[in-house]
Structure formats: C-alpha cells, structure tokens
Subunit: 194 residues, 2 copies
C-alpha cells in the first residue's frame, strides 16, 4: 500500500478475530516501530509482545481488578474514567480481546520517552494498516504505570525496573474480516500559516 | 512509495536547499499529520507553519539569544546542552536553515498532548519521505515552551495561551538534491516476546 494512503486510511479497530497473525507479519509491524526516530538516536524504546491467550487473560484480569479498586475523580482523564466504570460494570477487557498486544516502555527520566514511543506506535499502526491488520492504541497500562501490582506482573514479562510504560498497541485481523479504511474528516487539528 | 519502505528508509535531514517546496506538497505533509490518531479522538494538535524567511530568521535569532542566557546543568538533556553550547559558540540556527518549520502544539494539561503530537510528527516524517522531501524532528521550541520571550513571539504566530509547544519538524529538499534513505541498523529498541 502506498505510504500516504496507509497514513490517511488508518483507523482504530476494536473488534478482532481470534486468529493470531503469522509471526512474520507481527515482526514486520514491530520492525516498523523499531525504525522510528529517537531523541539523539537513543533507541531505548522497549517492545514487549503478548500473543499467549493465557498471559493476555491474566493481564486483562489484573488490569480489571486494579481499576475496580480505583475511585473516579473530577479531574481524571475522560478515557480513564470510562475504563474504571467499565471495569466496575463487569466484562471489561482493556485490550478488546485482540490476539496481539505490544506494550511499549522507555527509560524512566528520559525526556523523550513518550515522544519516541509514540513515534514507534504510529509507525506500527501505519505498518499494520499496510499489511491488512487492524490496530488500536491501548493506553491503560500507561495509566497504570505506577501501580505496583501491574508493574510486578509486567516485570515477569520483560519490563525493566528502570522503564516506564509509555503506551501499547493491539493488532490483529478485524472480526468481520474487512478493515474499515473510511477516512473520517478532521474537524480539529487546526493549521496556522505564517 | 510503499508504506513500509517509507517507514524503514526515513532518515533525518539536516542540510537543506533554500527552495521552498510547493505549497501543495507542504499541505500534503500536514494533512498526513492531521490524520494521526488522538486520545478519545480529541484532535487538538495545532500545526503552526513557518515558511517566510524573515519570520524564520527572527525565530532563530530569538532562540539563539535565549539559549545564550542559559547555563548548562549536570542533569540537562544531552541535546539541550548541545544547543546551548552551539548558541554560545555563534552561528547557531536551531532549524538548520530549512525552508519550512512546522511547530506542533497541544492543550496544556491534556494528558495525551505529547503522544498525539508525536504521532502527528511521525506521520509527517513518513509522508515527507514518500514525497521526496527530507525532514527532521526539531525539539528546541518544546524545550523553551515555558520561556516567556519565546511564548510571546509564538503568540504572534498563532500559538494560543492554553497551548503547550510539544515539538516541531523541518522539511525541505536536501542540500545535495538526494535524500539519504540508507537504512541504519537498530542496535537498541529491544523486543521481548511472551
């Protein structure tokens, strides 16, 4: 797929087929992420890949339980409020049941941690679209980055003690077999010219 | 250009031709940025575009003067140290003399401000590569986001009082007419599988 088309037609996919994409495809998506630029060519974005259903389920249950312990506050980010409410309601799976979750982390105290990780995530979203995979940014583990239960579980799966969870991505085949590539008009994201 | 090729061959360009790319090309790059995802589909990334040489020069001189007033500290980010030292040495132009500078800003206090802006910047870098333009992330105005002199100058060019400068990008034709697309091996950016 042509680069501009892949960028402009990328949409978030939130319903997935159970089929785990071929390892080679997942690796291509991650390679795209690894080729993102980094501040001072730092290359400290860490990609932690989950494809095992039992591991994903444990992670989902733990995230749900931790959200259930939390109270909604006035100044809370709207999407985090939504996650807590959904967890308390029941049946909540933060990764939408996708077959692959790629958590990204970076060095604690590194000023470009979020910037570098977001570039990597965006590369992976575009690559996924070009490879006929759906994708969606998943932020819950970033919100829970300082939660000890979550960190302890993530340490078991490769997170380092000097790393902060900056974000995450799910990828997979869409549930209905067709990727939605309908471009949605941008009403915000204003442009000012000098 | 194919999407994966555009992602994998994107490199930073730091020497530019004086030629300002056609407005249509610049608009295509910005459109790619506007189509980046945003938290809760917030769409609050603001693109402030500079193409006027006199305006760019005033901005460069102001950034240089502000860096000259600053002292190096032990815990300072390495690239910021480099900018201060370069400014004090003389002849410093933070945007490398590129013909186009696109500053990105987002809402102050919005938790996804950096994430959304970085996705937009990455989209623009990939689009630029696909359109045969060089590009480079420019972080100096982000570092100086709380500097009053810089903010006052940026207000004149469209920055809103409730916005934080999250980053920037330069684009243009490379000085030698050829874009360097040599892939450089990633030695960092590790991957862990479950």
């Amino acid at each position: 797929m042509e680069a501009l088309e892949a960028i402009l037609t990328r949409r978030s996919t939130r319903k997935y087929s159970d089929v785990v994409p071929e390892r080679e495809l997942i690796e291509k998506v991650i390679e795209a992420g690894r080729y993102a630029p980094s501040g001072h060519n730092n290359q400290t974005t860490h990609f932690i890949v989950f494809t095992e259903k039992a591991v994903l389920s444990e992670l989902a249950n733990t995230v749900r339980d931790e959200f259930c312990k939390m109270d909604i506050t006035e100044d809370m980010y709207i999407s985090m409020k939504g996650s807590i409410l959904a967890a308390k309601k029941g049946g909540y799976i933060f990764y939408y049941g996708a077959p692959v979750l790629i958590v990204v982390a970076n060095k604690i105290g590194y000023g470009n941690a979020m910037a570098d990780s977001a570039c990597a995530l965006e590369n992976m979203m575009i690559a996924a679209n070009a490879l006929d995979l759906g994708s969606c940014w998943i932020n819950q583990l970033h919100w829970l980055d300082e939660n000890k239960v979550i960190r302890n579980l993530m340490y078991k799966h490769g997170l380092k003690e000097d790393e902060t969870i900056t974000g995450g991505l799910i990828i997979g085949y869409p549930a209905d077999g067709v990727i939605n590539r309908q471009m949605t008009e941008r009403k915000g994201n204003p442009v000012t010219w000098d």
